[in-house]
C-alpha cells in the first residue's frame, strides 16, 4: 500500500510544495474581541467556498474568485461571499444554564442544486442553512409606484403582472431547519452521511442520527452514559461518518481509543464492530498519560481506507483493516513532553487540536502553539513546521520552515521551547479538497496559503 501512496504523491507534490502567503482575513489589532475568535474552518466539497465560524455565533463564507488567466498567481483569492449570525446566546431556564453561541462545527452538504447548504452547530442546536444567490427581482405594482407611493385606485384601468428584472447579485443565507433538543451534553461533532439524507451529531456521551429533513426526531445510536455518573470513565470526543460506506462511522474517546460501528448490524450501535487502540508503552507512563492520549479529532482519508487521529502530542494514521496499532505515527511537538506540568497548570493540555488531509491523502496538516502548524508528508516521511504570522504577510512570500530547539544547544534559526507563546495556538485548519490551498485559523485571523506557482 505504501508504494501506492508514493505514486499518488508524485503528482500531488507533497512536501516539495513551497507554500506562500496568499491572504489574511480578520482585524489586525492586537487586542482580540472574544466574539471574533475563530472556532471552526471548513472548505466545501468543490473548494470554491470556505466557511468559518466564530465564538460570536457568526458564520463567514468566502468565495474563491474565478480564475484570472492573465494573472494565474491570483487564482486563489478568497473574498467574503456571505456573513450571517447562525446562533444567538440562549439560556436554558430549566437547567439554569447559559448556552453559548459559539459555532463548534460547520459541515457542508454535497451540492444538490444551484444553492449551497451547510450545517452549523453550537453546544446544543444544529441548524441547516441555505446560501443562495439572487440576481432578479420583481418589478411593477398595480396599486403603488415602485417607490412605494400609492396610486389612486380609481385610475386602475388594466392589471399589471410583475416582471422579473436583473439586479445586482445578492447572496442570502436563510435558516432551513433547526435541529434542537437532541442533546443533553455539548455537541462536539457533526458529520454528513454519504447517503446524502442523514447526518450524525455527537456530544460527550451520546451520538444521534438525524434525517436532514426531519427536525422533531432523531435516533440515538450510541449511548455511553453509565447508569451511575460516578462510574463515568470516558467521554466521546469526536465522531465521523465514513466517506463512502453509509453504514460505517467512527467515534473517538478521551481514553485514546477509536470505535468503528456498523449500523447494518443493529439499530443501536452500543457494541462496536472494531476497536482501534494502541497498547500503552509502560515506560512512558506518567500522571499526564491519560490526558494527552485523549483524541481531539478523527478524520477519514478521502479514499476511505485510512483514518487519522490527533492526540495532544501526535498524529496517528490507522488502516481500517488493522486495529491493534496505527500504521503511521507522527510527533507534532514532542518537545512539549517535558513541559506537560506547566501546560497542565495553564490548561493548555486540554486544547483540542484538529487535523486534516490534503486532497490525495498524501500529506496531513495539524496545528501547534506559537502560531506554528505542521505538514506531515506520509510517503517521504518528512515533516515541516510553518508559521502563520503577520511578519510573512507579503504577497506571494514563501514561508520559511521553522525549527524548535528540543534541548541541548540552540542552533541558529531555532526557537527555544521556553520562548514559545502558548496563547497563540492553531487549532483549526482546512485543506482545499483538490488544490494545494490551505486555510489556517490563528486566534482571530484566517490565513490562506497556497502552493507557489512558478
Amino acid at each position: 500500500c505504501l508504494s501506492g501512496i508514493a505514486t499518488v504523491t508524485k503528482e500531488g507534490g507533497g512536501n516539495d510544495v513551497q507554500w506562500c502567503f496568499s491572504q489574511v482575513k480578520g482585524a489586525i489589532d492586537d487586542d482580540v474581541a472574544e466574539a471574533d475568535i475563530i472556532s471552526t474552518v471548513e472548505f466545501n466539497h468543490s473548494g470554491e467556498l470556505l466557511a468559518t465560524g466564530d465564538k460570536g455565533g457568526r458564520v463567514v463564507i468566502f468565495q474563491q474568485e474565478t480564475e484570472n488567466k492573465s494573472q494565474p498567481q491570483c487564482r486563489s483569492e478568497y473574498n467574503v461571499y456571505s456573513t450571517f449570525q447562525s446562533h444567538e446566546p440562549e439560556f436554558d431556564y430549566l437547567k439554569s444554564l447559559e448556552i453559548e453561541e459559539k459555532i463548534n462545527k460547520i459541515r457542508w452538504l454535497p451540492q444538490k442544486n444551484a444553492a449551497q447548504f451547510l450545517l452549523s452547530t453550537n453546544d446544543k442546536t444544529i441548524k441547516l442553512w441555505k446560501i443562495s444567490e439572487r440576481d432578479k427581482r420583481p418589478e411593477g405594482y398595480n396599486l403603488k409606484e415602485e417607490d412605494g407611493r400609492y396610486r389612486d385606485a380609481a385610475t386602475i384601468t388594466t392589471l399589471r403582472v410583475p416582471v422579473f428584472r436583473p439586479m445586482d447579485l445578492m447572496v442570502e443565507a436563510s435558516p432551513r431547519r433547526v435541529f434542537a433538543n437532541g442533546h443533553t451534553y455539548h455537541i462536539n461533532s457533526i458529520s454528513v452521511n454519504s447517503d446524502n439524507e442523514t447526518y450524525l451529531s455527537a456530544d460527550d456521551l451520546r451520538i444521534n442520527l438525524w434525517h436532514l429533513e426531519i427536525t422533531d426526531r432523531s435516533f440515538n445510536v450510541v449511548d455511553i452514559k453509565p447508569a451511575n455518573m460516578e462510574e463515568l470513565t470516558e467521554v466521546i470526543t469526536a465522531a465521523e461518518f465514513h466517506p463512502h460506506q453509509c453504514n460505517t462511522f467512527v467515534y473517538s474517546s478521551s481514553k485514546g481509543t477509536i470505535r468503528l460501528c456498523d449500523m447494518r448490524a443493529s439499530a443501536l450501535c452500543d457494541k462496536h464492530s472494531k476497536l482501534f487502540e494502541e497498547p500503552e508503552d509502560p515506560s512512558n507512563r506518567s500522571f499526564f498519560s491519560e490526558i494527552i492520549s485523549s483524541i481531539s479529532d478523527v478524520k477519514f482519508s478521502h479514499n476511505g481506507r485510512y483514518m487519522m487521529t490527533r492526540d495532544y502530542l501526535s498524529v496517528k494514521i490507522w488502516d481500517l483493516n488493522m486495529e491493534n496499532r496505527p500504521v503511521e505515527t507522527y510527533q507534532v511537538h514532542e518537545y512539549l513532553r517535558s513541559k506537560l506540568c506547566s501546560l497542565y497548570e495553564n490548561d493548555c493540555i486540554f486544547d483540542k487540536f484538529e487535523c486534516c488531509w490534503n486532497g490525495n491523502d498524501s500529506v496531513v496538516m495539524t496545528g501547534s502553539y506559537n502560531n506554528f502548524f505542521r505538514m506531515l508528508d506520509r510517503s517521504q516521511r518528512r515533516d515541516v513546521t510553518l508559521e502563520a504570522s503577520r511578519e510573512s504577510c507579503k504577497p506571494r512570500q514563501v514561508l520559511k520552515p521553522r525549527r524548535v530547539c528540543a534541548g541541548g544547544k540552540r542552533k541558529k534559526d531555532e526557537i527555544s521551547v521556553d520562548s514559545l507563546d502558548f496563547n497563540k495556538k492553531i487549532l483549526h485548519t482546512a485543506w482545499h479538497p483538490q488544490e494545494n490551498i490551505i486555510a489556517v485559523a490563528t486566534t482571530n485571523n484566517l490565513y490562506i496559503f497556497q502552493e507557489k506557482v512558478n
Partner: protein
C-alpha cells in the same frame, strides 16, 4: 367575473371597480408577508381568470417560473395550483405552457415541493395530446433526467411512468434508456428515487421489457452498496412480482427477495418484514408455503429487535392469508413456536407489537387451539412487566371474546386491570380508562359492579386532572351502556356525595360529572337529584366552585324543565351575577345570556347597581391596556348589545355623559392613571 375575464375589451377611462380586488391579489404575490403571498398564490386561479388565458400564458406564468426563491409553503401551494391550471391557460391545446414553472419547481431542494411539482406534472401529462407529449413533455423529462443537480434527476424518476404508455416505440426505447441511466446514478439520492419508482415504472412496461430491462435493474438496485437504496428495492420487488406470471417468479424475483430477507443490514430485513403481507399476496400460495414461511420464521427470530417488532406486527395478517388447506398446520408447527418465544422477548417493543395482534390468532385457530395454546400466552402477556404490553392485550379482548368468551380470562384480567389502574405513570392510567367502557360491555354489568366500579370512582379523585377528566367522560360512556337506572343506583349517589368533600377539586369533579351525566341520565334524575346539589354549591366559599356552578347550570339547562329553570336556577344565577369575584360574575352573566335571552330586566337591575357595567363604558375600557382583564366582561355585554340594539342608544347617551364626567374628573385630577385603581376596587 365575465367582464373581468377579458380586460382588454372592457378598458374604460375611469377605474374599474372589479379590477381592484384582483390588483390587490397580484400585488400581494410579492408582498413581504409570507401569509399574504400564500393567500394570493392560493387564489391564483382568480388572478388567471381575470387576466384571461392569453395574459396568463404570456405574463403570469413567466413571472411564476421565476418565483422559485420563495418560501417552501408558497412554492408548495404554487406547485399544487399549477396541477389544475389547464383550463386557465386555454385548455389542453396550451397545457405545455405550464411546464416551465413546474420544471423549475421540480428542481428546488425541498422534497415536499419537488414531490408536489412531480404530482402536478403527472396530472397535466394526461392532458397533453400524444403529439404534445412527445414535443413538449418528454423533452422536459429528458432535461430533468440529465440535469446537473440530483434534485432534478430525482424528480425525473417519477415522470417516466406517466409518459411511457402514450409515446411511440422509439421514444419508449429512449425513456427506458434514461431510466436505466438513473438507476446507476452516482448519487444515492437518485438511485433511491429510481428504486422507489421502479415498481411504478414496471407496471407500464410491456411484459417482455419487464423481464429484459426491469429485472436486471431490480437485481442491481437490490444489491446496491448503500443499504438505503437496497431497502427501497424490496418494495419494487413486491410490485414486480405482481406483474410476472407465476412460473417466472422463481427465476426472476425470488433469488433477490430471498437475499433481501437475509441482508446484512437490518434496515433491509426490516423492510422485508414490513412489506411481508404485500409480498405474500404478490407471490401466491405455493411460494408462500415453500419460501415465505421459513423466511418469516427467521424474521421473527431476527437478532435485531426492530426487525422482530415489524415481523411480530404481521403475525396475524400473515396467518390469515395462508392458504386455507394448510393454514392450521403451518401456524401450529412453524409460526406458533416462534410466537411463544416472542412472548418472553427481551425487548418491550417486540412484545407490545405481538400483544397488539396475538389475540387475532384465536379466530383463525378456533376454540380448542386457543384454549390450549394461545390462552397461556395471553396470560403471560397480561402479567408482562411493561404496561404497554398489558394494555395491548386488554384493548384487543373483543377478538378472544368471540371465540372462547371472556370468562376464561377474567380471573387473570382483573389483577392486570387493577395494576394498570394504579400505575405510577398517569398516561398508563389514562389508557386503561379509555378501555373501560369496552371492558364493561364485554364483562357485563354484574362483574363490573363487583370488581371495576370502585376503580372508576377512584379515578375521580386522582391527583392528575387529565385522569379526573377522563374518568368523568368514562362515567358518561358507562351510563350510555348500562342505562340511567343503573346510574341512579350506583354512580350518581357516589358522585353527589363528593359535593361535600373538603377538597374543592373533588367538589368541582362533582360538577364536571354532572355536566357529563345530565344528558344521558335524563330530566328526572337531573332535576330531582343533581340540581339541588348544584344549587347548594352556589354558596361554596371557593370562587372556582361557584363559577363552575354557573357553567354547570348553563350546561344542564337544556335538560331541565322550564319551571325548575324559572323557579330554582334563575335566582341562583342572578345572585352569582352579583358575586364579588369577577370570574363568577362573568360566567353567571354568560349563563344568563345563554339561557334567558329575554330577561333584560335582570341585566338592567345589575347594571343600575353599578353603572360601570354599562356596555359602552366597558367597551371603552376594554381597549385601555390597563384594563385588559375586563375584556371578558365586555364580551358578555357586547352579546347583549347585539340583542338589544335599541337599548344601546340609551346606553350610548348614558355613557357619553359618564365619560364626559369621568374625563373631566381625570382632567381636574391631572392624572388618568390615578383613577383606574379606584375603578378596579369598585369592580
Amino acid at each position: 367575473g365575465n367582464r373581468a375575464a377579458q380586460p382588454g375589451t372592457t378598458q374604460r377611462a375611469e377605474g374599474d371597480d372589479s379590477l381592484y380586488p384582483i390588483a390587490v391579489l397580484i400585488d400581494e404575490l410579492r408582498n413581504e408577508d409570507v401569509q399574504l403571498r400564500l393567500n394570493s398564490i392560493k387564489k391564483l386561479s382568480t388572478i388567471a381568470l381575470a387576466l384571461g388565458v392569453e395574459r396568463t400564458r404570456t405574463e403570469l406564468l413567466p413571472f411564476l417560473t421565476d418565483t422559485i426563491y420563495d418560501e417552501d409553503e408558497v412554492l408548495l401551494a404554487l406547485a399544487e395550483q399549477l396541477g389544475s391550471f389547464t383550463v386557465l391557460v386555454g385548455g389542453p391545446e396550451f397545457v405545455h405552457c405550464l411546464l416551465p414553472p413546474l420544471e423549475s419547481l421540480a428542481t428546488v431542494e425541498e422534497t415536499v415541493v419537488r414531490d408536489k411539482a412531480v404530482e402536478s406534472l403527472q396530472k397535466i401529462s394526461q392532458e397533453h395530446s400524444p403529439v404534445d407529449l412527445e414535443v413538449h413533455f418528454v423533452p422536459l423529462v429528458k432535461r430533468l433526467a440529465s440535469g446537473d443537480w440530483f434534485t432534478s434527476r430525482t424528480s425525473a424518476c417519477g415522470l417516466f411512468s406517466v409518459c411511457y404508455p402514450r409515446v411511440s416505440s422509439t421514444v419508449k426505447a429512449e425513456i427506458r434508456q434514461h431510466f436505466r441511466t438513473l438507476c446507476s446514478d452516482d448519487t444515492p439520492m437518485v438511485r433511491r428515487a429510481a428504486s422507489s419508482k421502479l415498481g411504478e415504472f414496471a407496471k407500464v412496461l410491456e411484459l417482455d421489457y419487464v423481464k429484459s430491462d426491469i429485472i436486471p435493474l431490480f437485481t442491481a438496485l437490490a444489491s446496491d452498496e448503500q443499504d438505503s437504496v437496497r431497502l427501497l428495492a424490496v418494495e419494487a420487488g413486491v410490485s414486480i412480482a405482481t406483474l410476472l406470471p407465476q412460473e417466472d417468479l422463481e427465476d426472476l424475483v425470488m433469488p433477490t427477495l430471498r437475499q433481501a430477507a437475509e441482508d446484512k443490514s437490518w434496515r433491509v430485513r426490516y423492510m422485508v418484514a414490513d412489506k411481508f403481507s404485500e409480498l405474500q399476496k404478490a407471490v401466491g400460495p405455493e411460494i408462500t408455503k415453500n419460501d415465505l414461511v421459513p423466511a418469516f420464521q427467521n424474521l421473527l427470530k431476527d437478532c435485531e429487535a426492530e426487525v422482530r417488532t415489524a415481523a411480530a406486527n404481521k403475525v396475524k395478517v400473515f396467518c390469515e392469508s395462508l392458504p386455507e388447506d394448510s393454514r392450521e398446520t403451518i401456524i401450529m408447527t412453524h409460526i406458533l413456536p416462534c410466537v411463544k418465544e416472542l412472548v418472553s422477548d427481551t425487548n418491550q417493543h417486540v412484545k407490545s407489537a405481538l400483544a397488539s395482534v396475538i389475540m387475532g390468532l384465536s379466530t383463525i385457530l378456533g376454540k380448542d387451539n386457543t384454549v390450549e395454546h394461545l390462552l397461556p400466552l395471553f396470560l403471560v402477556q397480561l402479567k408482562d412487566e411493561y404496561p404497554e404490553v398489558r394494555l395491548n392485550i386488554i384493548s384487543n379482548l373483543d377478538c378472544v371474546n368471540e371465540v372462547i368468551g371472556i370468562r376464561q380470562l377474567s380471573q387473570s384480567l382483573l389483577p392486570a386491570i387493577v395494576e394498570l389502574a394504579e400505575d405510577a405513570k398517569w398516561r398508563v392510567r389514562l389508557a386503561i380508562i379509555e378501555y373501560m367502557p369496552l371492558l364493561a360491555g364485554q364483562l357485563g354489568v354484574e362483574f363490573f359492579d363487583e370488581k371495576l366500579n370502585s376503580l372508576c370512582m377512584a379515578w375521580l379523585i386522582d391527583h392528575v386532572y387529565a385522569i379526573r377528566e377522563a374518568a368523568t367522560c368514562n362515567l358518561m360512556k358507562l351510563v350510555e351502556k348500562f342505562g340511567a337506572e343503573w346510574a341512579q343506583n350506583t354512580i350518581v349517589p357516589k358522585v353527589l356525595g363528593m359535593a361535600n368533600d373538603s377538597n374543592y377539586l373533588h367538589r368541582m369533579t362533582t360538577l364536571f360529572c354532572i355536566n357529563a351525566l345530565s344528558e344521558v341520565c335524563g330530566q328526572e334524575i337531573t332535576t330531582k337529584h343533581m340540581l339541588p346539589v348544584v344549587l347548594k354549591m352556589s354558596t361554596d366559599q371557593v370562587a372556582n366552585v361557584r363559577f363552575n356552578v354557573a357553567r354547570c347550570l348553563q350546561k344542564i339547562g337544556p335538560v331541565l324543565d322550564s319551571s325548575a329553570l324559572q323557579a330554582d336556577v334563575k335566582p341562583v344565577l342572578e345572585k352569582l351575577a352579583t358575586d364579588q369575584d369577577m370570574d363568577v360574575k362573568y360566567f353567571a352573566l354568560e349563563a344568563i345570556s345563554g339561557m334567558y335571552p329575554f330577561i333584560s330586566l335582570t341585566f338592567q337591575h345589575i347594571s343600575s347597581q353599578k353603572h360601570f357595567n354599562s356596555p359602552l363604558y366597558c367597551f371603552f375600557f376594554s381597549f385601555s391596556p390597563c384594563c385588559l382583564g375586563y375584556r371578558r366582561l365586555h364580551c358578555v355585554i357586547v352579546k347583549f348589545f347585539k340583542h338589544y340594539l335599541w337599548m344601546s342608544c340609551i346606553y350610548f347617551i348614558y355613557s357619553c355623559i359618564y365619560l364626559f364626567i369621568w374625563s373631566t374628573c381625570t382632567f381636574l385630577k391631572g392624572s388618568s392613571d390615578a383613577h383606574f385603581p379606584q375603578v378596579d376596587m369598585i369592580l
